[in-house]
Amino acid sequence: MSADPDEELVRRVGAGDPAAVQTLVARKLPRILALAVRMLGDATEAEDVAQETFLRIWRHALSWRRGNARFDSWIHRVTLNLCYDRLRRRRQWVTDDLPEMVDPSTLPDAHPQEDALRVEQALQGIAPRQREAIILVYYQEMSNIEAAATLQISVDALESLLSRGRRSLQTILARDGADE
């Protein structure tokens, strides 16, 4: 396994180095917040999740030891678990059924502001497991191996989630485009 680029920084945070704390926040907060915003579709809730994630980082930094996962994967897992807690509370679970295949050429023309909103809503409309797979690989730019490790599934299972998730998104976006 390759070296963890965050390992030394986490060790310094665990030792109580204030400069390391600042560096870690600057390095990880944008990623954690982006992950939570896209998972929850709610900026305020996502900020709460980001704060809770960092509280757990401070609590565990001293005892954190690299096992099978990198530190970045671990904080993604923590963030996702906190997002799931909130999704459960909201009872916004959706079915994991596969939508029908659509031709992406039928997707409506791009208008950045509207498209962003439609994609945000479409992401909230697909199954959470598909959503997290897409977010990790597409937006968080994790490799397939890192994303699979974070989701604690095989690479094959990850690919399946990604394919089904993208297909679901295409279906929702094409339907929304047709409704307009």
Binding site: L29, V37, R38, A50, A116, V119, V137, Y138, L169, L173
Partner: protein, 156 residues
């Protein structure tokens, strides 16, 4: 598309990729090969040059374009500051806890030392005979001067 074009030659270290696998990867990871599994990127790039590869990537790229439009704002200063403040509080609390545990540890060591010292003193110090002791009312310097048991039995 001819049969020969569905199978692209891979690099020396990678197996060639067929259209089915190429399409499966594009369906999962999208049209940007940088997101594809590293082990299959090279073979994918070779196939991407083909007509079929171009069509598959265009197909996947439509959704990629929409996904790209969804950007998230950078964290605000208030959130950033709140997280750093919480970290500061946590560090202070941990220092206090460490100090408290250190004090407790020292007290424990002191207590253990005192107990060990007492135990040692009780073992090492010889038993001190008392200067005097209260004699039994029936005892004399020559022994027990109480009524003789045999005599008592005879009297009976």
């Amino acid at each position: 598309m001819g049969k020969g074009k569905t199978m692209a030659e891979g690099s020396r270290n990678e197996p060639a990729m067929d259209a089915k696998r190429f399409a499966a990867l594009a369906a999962a990871y999208g049209g940007d090969l940088r997101r594809w599994p590293e082990a299959e990127r090279m073979a994918g790039a070779v196939f991407a040059a083909s007509e079929a590869g171009q069509a598959i990537l265009r197909h996947a790229g439509t959704l990629d374009g929409l996904l790209d439009s969804y950007r998230v704002e950078a964290p605000g200063k208030i959130l950033h500051g709140a997280i750093l403040q919480a970290a500061g509080r946590h560090l202070v609390q941990r220092r206090r806890q460490r100090f408290w545990w250190l004090g407790l540890g020292l007290a424990g060591i002191g207590l253990a030392g005192a107990v060990a010292g007492l135990a040692l003193v009780s073992i090492v110090t010889p038993e001190v005979q008392p200067d005097h002791y209260v004699l039994d009312a029936n005892a004399t310097a020559f022994g027990d001067a109480g009524p003789d048991r045999d005599t008592i039995e005879e009297d009976l």
